[in-house]
């Protein structure tokens, strides 16, 4: 049983990504108590998996470091990792919530010395790198992980490997008897900042994701480019590890499409242009082709588009690519479609294809009271008549980091209003 001091004067923030952490901090720094829960073993969510942000091409870790510092010194925020919301009942100002804590099998005595990982033999798909590489089943999620603490994958519990890890730990930090537990709390307001999942690209059968090794998604590209990614930051073809010379980006892959996601995810144009800069920086001779329907670079971000467009090795071709096929011998991909401008058929060959796939929001999934409404696409809807549960970030609409932070700051105030009303 975990003791908390949460009561109806506190705010529960579900999701410890950039939106959740922002909402939690902004409310706490105004003097309100917050409980922040995150299902992963670390905070930072999906932005921690990015290499750079557009348009400044700066590292997410920079902003996260300040966020975590603010978190560290603020006694009003209590956060739990490996935590999920499993039940909500009640009404605005007075909710009863149940939080489930999944076992990390590593307690607060962990010093990150790394001995357990050294002795562990089992390897698992690295979740942080979308399974593009393997890590030991006793692992630190990523080097900037906050909180800095190892995790044991549940798959080794009960095995000899787990025992080895436990024996190797000098600090008694490995607790194989940890069990799933739940605790109940009363809160006054809830902020749903549980983020999104990348659209499952294998559903876009004609693009061959999952079949052709060298067709990857935008989120996988971020990992390839990251120094702490599966290839140490070298953007290479998954099939043979070779350098890329010719890369294609397919915009709106499974987006703006009745058969997949009808809506636009807002950031994929900018993300692909950003990826183009990653590639161009690493390989001055590599060519990049971006197949698009509309280039969506709003307000000052237009400058970013202008900059990328000016690069003579980056081409923009307006086309909705019809299908992709693979040359089994080389692993190269042939991209076919109509060039909307010229009316000609495109048939071009590339080393690697990046699908700019969209974002699918996480819903409260039966956990919430019936008050919570979603739009046609699963995005949570703010209903002024039904206060108390507020969406923040990509659970409301797909968008960029600055907007998520803005949004989460607003959600913090809405949550405070729910409490202040009492």
């Amino acid at each position: 049983m975990v003791e908390t001091q949460a009561n109806t004067q506190s705010i529960l923030v579900v999701g410890g990504g950039i939106s959740g952490v922002t909402a939690a901090l902004e409310a706490a720094e105004a003097g309100y108590d917050v409980v922040l829960i995150e299902k992963n073993p670390y905070l930072g969510g999906r932005v921690a998996q990015l290499y750079h942000y557009f348009p400044k091409l700066c590292p997410p870790a920079c902003g996260l470091e300040i966020y975590f510092r603010r978190l560290k010194q603020n006694p009003r925020v209590r956060f739990f990792t490996m935590a999920e919301l499993v039940k909500v009942s009640g009404e605005a100002g007075n909710y009863d919530v149940t939080i489930k804590l999944s076992p990390r099998y590593v307690n607060e005595k962990c010093t990150c010395c790394g001995k357990c990982a050294e002795v562990c033999e089992t390897e698992i798909d690295n979740p942080f790198n979308f399974g593009m590489d393997k890590i030991k089943a006793a692992y630190l999620p990523h080097e900037f992980a906050f909180p800095m603490r190892y995790v044991l994958d549940p798959s080794i519990i009960g095995t000899e490997d787990a025992k080895k890890c436990q024996e190797a730990c000098e600090y008694g930090a490995i607790d194989l008897d940890m069990k799933e537990s739940t605790f109940d709390m009363k809160v006054g307001a809830i902020i749903w900042a549980a983020g999104w999942n990348p659209y499952d690209a294998s559903k876009i059968e004609y693009y061959g994701f999952g079949q052709y090794k060298n067709v990857i998604t935008n989120v996988m590209m971020e990992r390839l480019a990251s120094p702490n990614g599966p290839t140490g930051g070298r953007i290479v073809r998954p099939s043979d590890g070779k350098e890329v010379k010719n890369v294609a980006f397919i915009q709106c892959a499974g987006s703006r499409d009745e058969n997949h996601l009808p809506y636009c995810s807002g950031i994929c144009c900018l993300a692909s242009m950003k990826h183009a800069t990653y590639i161009r920086e690493q390989y001055p001779d590599c060519e990049v082709t971006i197949f698009f329907i509309d280039i969506r670079a709003l307000d000052r971000l237009e400058d970013f588009y202008t900059m990328v467009e000016a690069d003579d090795k980056v081409s923009f071709i307006k086309s909705k690519i019809a299908y992709i096929t693979e040359d089994e011998e080389t692993g190269n991909l042939t991209v076919e479609g109509e060039n909307t401008r010229t009316g000609e058929q495109i048939r071009m060959s590339f080393d690697m294809v990046v699908l700019a796939t969209g974002m699918v929001p996480n819903k409260m999934n039966g956990v919430a009271p019936p008050d919570v409404t979603y739009d046609d696409y699963g995005f949570i809807v703010l209903d002024p008549e039904k206060p108390g549960i507020y969406g923040a970030g990509c659970t409301r609409r797909p968008t960029d980091v600055a907007t998520c932070v803005q949004d989460a700051t607003a959600a913090a105030l809405k949550a405070i209003q729910s409490i202040a009303r009492r």
Partner: protein
């Protein structure tokens, strides 16, 4: 506070294996007379912490030096209350994880780190929160009564705080008053503007005081202590507020500059704003003869995404034109709308509205406009159609709507000029120079701040008073003053509402933090603030000019007048002051100077150079930790000293270091320039500028300027650290040992 100090050295995580901990304890006991010095094999564990807590309780220890892991970890474990001083000495990440165990140099590094920690703890005092004489206000001033301003005021009131709303027009609503309908979530159809309800909610709210036909004349003071003079209706009023939200909105781009698109030439060429006004007033008709409208053409990006006019995109014009096309269809289902566009920018769920517009039978032409002309009383538009690949001509048009962009209200028509500072380039015959957008003198009047650095918020490119940071979109360069709505970025109404709510949150938060003496972002919670020993001030004005946040005013004699609640506690002023009169209770020039002096500098013949690296604690320090976590090995001769910002580096530290025989000084900090990363805006830039002045001094002392270097180290640059150190060590080897050693 009378200090009772204790040192605790953790021997876990390899520290005990790599170092002679006994020797370290001796140094603490003998050299620093610390009464209690202990070691423990697992200090962050419950038993270890218990040892410390026992000493606090039984021995009255109130200053705790922990020589163990990095201060970035176990912050919660080693937290003994706000009334204790805790100093962390990094022996793990930055010593034993980056150095070979058992070596003499590793030991010397650890000993110096401990010495510096003991020295620092000695010079640290507990901060006392700043309590102004005047009472702190938690009221919020909202400047501008459009959608953003109304929302900010209302959301403030709903949270239980008071708002003062000032609007220059005689009615509230801003551009919302000119709108017929909105397109907002869920983007399926047109919505009512909600203006009436919103205005009523604001006017009826007892927590909101509304001034219409009024402007802000001037604002003096600081967060928590702003005094606002409001003039209007022949009256003058003063309000005391704690924080400010500027929501002064936008004006349409001047379409007179678009005469090549027919504006001003043909009556039936109107802007999107004029179109909206017509629709809101009743029927949309041809301005030339009042006749019915059958065929309309919308020219998107009219004067936008155009280096000759507005280079940026105004975000909303696509959606607005689709909305107006729907007005036309509503009025006359037989009407034909042509939308001539470059890219259709209907993001997120707004894609649904684009779909609806297509299903409504509107004609979308992707291309660029070449010419707008008139023939037989009707208009025609020639365009280069991208899809057809040829020039087309769309005729028989009753109306051509130019979708013009938004210009923030802050953008001046004519860029103001101020007296050019000495030596500045580009001054005209009268000695005046144009101000740059980041100057407090650039923006058009909205706040009238009585700040030495100018009356308005600094702006970014294109005149938007926005934050440069992606992660911190509300952080303007003036503490306690936030911007919301289209004045900060062109945005659609749904986003404006969120934006204004967020700005209200930040404003409230600022007043709450200020009321307990705490700083806001990025040093949230910091209770220290700079104190000025005015006796030695020489009125050089460096602090007042260099403060990135305009926190320091000046009197007529050029004496600095600090405003602690405007301060972000970065210490740039401390670094600027040549007389060293500025200090914080827990961060001062002598403190770092003494740390440098605590370093043991071996004699020249020992051939063990010594480098001092002043490290920005926001990014570079974390990068060093990361290098340690990755067990990257570096030279054992570098002594890392974290600083709040490189801008707080006072040049005397360099002089101190060199006069002690330190061979080289590295400054490790964030990127500066157009895409700066420095959390304090100009810190690393200032450090660099100051370094150039140091070169002269160095040359005079017959010391090579190569000995002092700035290197950019971003938080993810840990891979580069070994190389950076190695290269610097090579430079030092070339120039040879500091001739001042042993003096």
């Amino acid at each position: 506070m009378e200090k009772k100090t204790a040192v605790y050295i953790c021997t876990g995580c390899g520290i005990g294996d790599a170092l002679d901990v006994g020797k370290l304890l001796e140094i603490a006991t003998d050299d620093y007379s610390i009464p209690i010095c202990k070691e423990h094999p697992f200090l962050c564990g419950p038993e270890g912490v218990e040892v410390i807590k026992k000493d606090i309780q039984e021995e009255g220890i109130n200053t705790i030096i922990i020589a163990a892991c990095s201060p970035r970890v176990n912050y919660d474990v080693f937290n003994f209350g706000a009334d204790k001083i805790v100093e962390r000495v990094n022996l793990r990440e930055q010593v034993v994880w980056m150095q070979p165990p058992g070596e003499e140099d590793t030991q010397m590094l650890a000993e110096d780190n401990l010495r510096m920690g003991c020295s620092k703890a000695n010079d640290t005092e507990l901060p006392e929160p700043f309590k102004p004489e005047e009472e702190i206000s938690k009221d919020i001033l909202v400047v501008g009564g459009g959608l953003a301003g109304l929302t900010a005021a209302l959301e403030t009131a709903k949270a239980g705080y008071k708002a003062v709303l000032v609007e220059k027009e005689d009615r509230l609503g801003g551009f919302l008053t000119k709108m017929k309908k909105l397109v907002t979530m869920p983007y399926k159809e047109l919505s009512d503007t909600g203006l009436e309800d919103l205005v009523k909610a604001v006017e009826d709210n007892p927590n909101i005081k509304v001034y219409t036909s009024s402007t802000v004349e001037k604002i003096s003071g600081a967060p928590g202590l702003f005094s606002v003079e409001i003039k209007g209706n022949g009256n003058s009023a003063t309000e005391k507020v704690g924080a400010i939200v500027q929501a002064t909105g936008w004006v349409p781009y001047d379409a007179n500059k678009l005469d090549h698109l027919g504006y001003g030439k043909f009556k039936d060429v109107v802007t999107n704003v004029e179109m909206e006004e017509m629709a809101a007033a009743g029927k949309i008709t041809r301005p030339s003869d009042g006749k019915d409208v059958k065929n309309v053409l919308f020219v998107q990006c009219a004067g936008s995404r155009d280096p000759e006019h507005l280079p940026y995109c105004s975000s909303v014009c696509c959606l607005v034109s689709l909305k107006q096309a729907a007005y036309i269809k509503e009025q006359n289902p037989e009407a034909v709308n042509y939308i001539l566009y470059k890219d259709m920018r209907t993001l997120g769920q707004a894609e649904d509205f684009y779909k609806k517009a297509q299903l409504d039978g509107n004609v979308f032409v992707r291309g660029s406009v070449a010419n707008v002309g008139e023939e037989g009383g009707k208009l025609f538009v020639e365009a280069d159609d991208e899809l057809l690949g040829e020039r087309i001509r769309i005729e028989d048009l009753d109306l051509v709507v130019l979708a013009v962009g938004m210009v923030p209200s802050t953008q001046p028509d004519e860029i103001p000029r101020i007296p050019a500072p000495e030596g500045a380039e580009g001054a005209d015959e009268e000695g005046m120079i144009e101000v740059t957008p980041d100057s407090g003198f650039y923006a058009t009047k909205a706040l009238g701040l009585e700040y030495r650095q100018g009356p308005e918020l600094p702006t970014l490119k294109y005149g938007f008073p926005d934050s440069h940071f992606i992660c911190f979109p509300y952080e303007t360069r003036r503490t306690g003053i936030y911007t919301a709505g289209c004045v900060r970025r062109p945005m659609e109404t749904a986003k404006v509402i969120d934006d204004a709510t967020g700005a209200a949150m930040k404003a409230i938060q600022c007043t709450e933090a200020t009321s307990v003496g705490m700083a806001v972002h990025p040093r949230s919670g910091d209770m220290s603030y700079p104190e000025f020993n005015m006796q030695r001030c020489t009125q050089c004005k460096r602090c007042t000019e260099e403060c990135p946040f305009g926190a320091i005013n000046e009197d007529e004699k050029a004496n600095p007048l600090p405003n602690p609640t405007r301060c972000r506690r970065c210490g740039v002023c401390m670094g600027a002051c040549p007389e060293r009169i500025i200090s914080f209770k827990n961060y001062s020039v002598p403190m770092i100077g003494n740390m440098i002096k605590a370093i043991e500098v071996p004699e020249e013949d020992e051939e063990k150079p010594r480098i001092v690296a002043l490290v920005c604690e926001n990014d570079a320090y974390a990068a060093l930790d990361m290098a340690g976590i990755r067990r990257m090995q570096i030279s054992p001769y570098v002594r890392f000293i974290p600083v709040r910002c490189l801008g707080s580096v006072n040049l005397v530290w360099i002089a101190d270091a060199l006069s002690r025989g330190i061979d080289g000084i590295l400054l490790m900090g964030c990127r500066y320039g157009d895409d700066y990363q420095c959390h304090f805006i100009k810190g690393s830039e200032l450090a660099n500028t100051r370094l150039t002045k140091v070169s002269e001094t160095l040359d005079r002392l017959a010391l090579e300027s190569d000995r002092v270097k700035f290197v950019e180290v971003g938080i993810t640059d840990y891979e580069k650290i070994p190389k950076i150190i190695e290269e610097f060590m090579e430079t030092i080897e070339e120039v040879g040992p500091n001739p001042y050693k042993g003096w």
